[in-house]
Symmetry: C2
Subunit: 206 residues, 2 copies
């Protein structure tokens, strides 16, 4: 839609909003006009929350996740198991794993996966700092929790090679049929992999 904006200020704000992923011009217009109807304080509070975050956000010295402090609350927590590191692509993935409430170890945020197509090489990722953490010696297990894609697999293999000289257990999260899914609708690669990686069954639902 080629829209003639009645206001250059409006057009500028819509343009900025449209730069966000998944936000088209029409949605951007709706969001901006929504903010325009709000009080001055609400718009200022919205804008300030972003500039403050950008200005003051730190990254945890240990796991490189976002943090308000030098060490993030997870790495600073003595009740977490610091001998297990879960390697994830980004901060959202840390939150996703935390939400499962199934993990009590710590994390390492790579900042992406190796992807020659997108120009992401191993040097662009936080792999060196992961190796350093493992080399320090207190780590017993590294769990690779990357996307189940070619890029994720490549990154898994790269990390495997980098860590092979250390005495650390390396594991990868299970891939298989999603809970609640019907076999009939599962893709054959996943289904095949879930048969090859079948697990002992003791009569209880997992």
């Amino acid at each position: 839609m080629n829209q003639e904006y009645p206001s250059a200020l409006l057009e500028k704000a819509v343009k900025e909003f449209s730069k966000l992923p998944g936000i088209g011009r029409k949605t951007a217009t709706r969001l901006v006009l929504h903010l325009l109807r709000k009080d001055d304080e609400e718009v200022t509070s919205f804008a300030d929350s972003l500039t403050t975050l950008k200005r003051e956000a730190r990254y945890c010295n240990e796991c490189l996740s976002i943090s308000d402090t030098e060490i993030c609350p997870i790495c600073a927590n003595p009740l977490r198991d610091h001998s297990i590191i879960c390697v994830v692509e980004n901060i959202q993935d840390v939150m996703a794993v935390e939400n499962t409430m199934q993990y009590r170890g710590v994390y390492h945020v790579l900042g992406g996966v190796i992807s020659p197509m997108d120009g992401v090489s191993p040097g662009d990722l936080n792999i060196g700092s992961l190796v350093n953490r493992v080399a320090a010696g207190d780590v017993k297990e590294v769990i690779l929790a990357l996307s189940s894609t070619m890029e994720g697999d490549t990154t898994n293999f790269y990390i495997y090679r980098k860590l092979s000289q250390y005495n650390v257990k390396l594991s990868v999260i299970a891939r298989g049929i999603s809970i609640g899914d019907e076999l009939e609708y599962a893709d054959e690669v996943t289904l095949g992999s879930s048969i090859v990686n079948r697990q002992p069954f003791n009569g209880k639902t997992i």
Copy 2:
């Protein structure tokens, strides 16, 4: 999803973003983390575009659409037909009608429709200023282009009553089957209305 945010600053920004219509917590997190990866200047430019718009946006003295000046470019344009006023709910609708390139008159932005359920009474809308424009005497036609809902119909009727004492032609935009739609999928009220309001056919596609 009940997310534990690793950073209070991040949580605050996500909370602000989630207040926008149609933006849930998950999308808000994605958008905020996207902005976080951008340069300082880009984030500042994004935030500033909103506060500047909010601080400096004016509303056209004539049609009450958003404008950078006292009179908006449409109302200020001598080539537009100032004797026809198209009444719309909001600024988006002005842009939608403009995009059709079928209208050379001017507009009047009501700021909503009468909706007792949402607490919107006629006094909350820019109806008085519409009556004043008509009362001034140079207006020949008022086109009602409101939503085809009960609230839109109520507002149409309210405006009809308010303008009935003036010598002005009142019309409403045509309702019928959308162009490209199949009859089979049209709702029966629209289909019924499109039969009742059938138009003379001269052999040309409309």
